[in-house]
Amino acid sequence: MTPFWRKLRVLFAVQFAEMTEYRAEIIIWMLSSTLSLVMMLVWMAQAAAAPGGEIRGYSPGEFATYFLATWVVSQLLVVWVAWDLDFDIRQGTLSPKLLRPLDPIWQRYMDHVAGRLVRFPALLALVALFAWWTGARFTTDPAAYLAALGLAFLGFSARFLWEYTLGLLAFWTESSTSFQEVVWLVYAALGGMFAPLAFYPAWVQQIALWTPFPYMLGLPAQLLSGKATLADAGRGALVLAAWLLVFWTARLLVWRVGLRKYGAVGA
């Protein structure tokens, strides 16, 4: 095992222990992101009231399946690193981390990965409860689950990198976390949190295909609903991999320029 992987493993163990301390908070955070669930209930009522009992081929049960799936995927994609960076840079707690023989991004990344693992059991329990209540039906194909998980992992890494880059803007501005709110809106809209992407006007769909968003949120959700194929997943993975490279380069550039600007607190 190379020293790099050993460092990562130790960081992960430490961050996992820290995350389990916050398990009550984690459940509260999970329950407080209700946008998919609100949209699910509204679309279900809309479909039930529509003539024929469906909208664009979606029955209430299929809406439930799609939105519950987006809820699960969006929980796996949750990233809060911009807030951490904002704090680290403003309070100067970044300084001791710079002395370590490893880019501070890895500690944050491991902290986020650990957060996902702590969430997972509660996530499964909640989604089983909601599925039983709303009549959602997920696919039975194990390959679809693996593909969805893989896409969610790539998507999480991409989102982590762009949020990290935005968080680094705290080197220059005091309001870096508000940029992230606007980017979140684009991600939620084009990712398909308000409705499946097919419900949007054609020109919006055209634009969305060039962004990473539909492949990280809508596509895994469609895989879990049994409405997307493994070939779709493969194409999505390629697009996400390309975006990962873009975000990684952007992050590296902003980090190098930002560090020169950083003077720590009181310096």
Binding site: I28, T34, L41, A45, Y200
Partner: protein, 262 residues
């Protein structure tokens, strides 16, 4: 009473001068407000964008927009008046500075509720009011409708304030409660749509268990003249009852307060 009004003026002046120090934050606040307005509008835009959809839960697009307007306005009320104060309660208890608040010859609940303002988020209030005016211009609204909507919205604000205060007061026992208000935000997210847009069992939940319906749907119904008298009376009643309950809860919490060091 005049003493309290004077205090409000002094508090507002102090918090304004403290906030306007950070002018760069204004851009961030505007971005955040635009983001929230975007989420609220996209939600209904996609719903109404489907072929053949003319109403959601019996509400036309303009009427649903009215609900969204009240939603944004309430987000503004929360981020300008309520949240900046309530988020400090837990901190004051943790650090022990609540002692000073309780020793002052002013009602402590008033002091913790009125001391701070976040002027930067006034944009939320403006966007909300703008949306309401825009939607109302496309609907037939009467003067009595607008007046009753104003009264009912006032009870909506009282309801929101009471829920936040109640949740924040639990900090006297649990100390770490900033996260509990996140739960309120999650439930409140449902208020961006008229309550009739939800399946029937959820509708009852949002009216009687978590009084979300009274915050945005009821004032909007009053404005369009579709409000049932029962709901019109229920809203101030709920607000009054909640106010008395949270007041009692607050007094009980203060009585059990033992400061940070003991």
């Amino acid at each position: 009473m005049t003493r309290y009004l004077r205090l409000i003026r002094i508090f507002t002046g102090a918090t304004l001068s403290a906030q306007l120090e950070y002018r760069a934050n204004f851009l961030g606040a505007v971005l955040a407000s635009l983001g929230e307005a975007g989420v609220a509008l996209l939600g209904i835009a996609v719903l109404f964008g489907q072929p053949g959809t003319t109403s959601v839960g019996g509400w036309s697009f303009q009427a649903a927009l009215l609900v969204t307007g009240f939603f944004m306005l309430t987000e503004g009320v929360i981020s300008v008046f309520i949240q900046p104060n309530m988020s400090k309660i837990a901190e004051a208890i943790r650090t022990g500075s609540m002692d000073f608040t309780l020793l002052k010859p002013v009602d402590a609940q008033f002091n913790v509720s009125a001391r701070n303002l976040n002027v930067l988020r006034v944009t939320d209030l403006l966007i909300g009011a703008g949306l309401i005016a825009y939607a109302a211009a496309h609907l037939t609204v009467t003067l009595p409708g607008v007046l009753s909507a104003a009264v009912l919205y006032l009870s909506a604000v009282v309801i929101v304030y009471c829920i936040w205060l109640g949740l924040s007061t639990t900090a006297f026992w649990w100390v770490k409660t900033q996260n509990i208000t996140e739960l309120f935000n999650g439930v409140f997210g449902a208020a961006r749509f008229p309550v009739t847009a939800f399946p029937v069992p959820v509708r009852a939940l949002l009216t009687f268990v978590l009084p979300v319906a009274f915050i945005t749907t009821v004032p909007a119904q009053a404005m369009t003249g579709t409000l049932t008298p029962a709901l019109a009376f229920a809203s101030p009643l709920v607000a009054g009852a909640l106010f008395v309950l949270t007041r009692l809860f607050w007094l009980k919490a203060v009585a059990s307060y033992t400061s940070a060091s003991s």
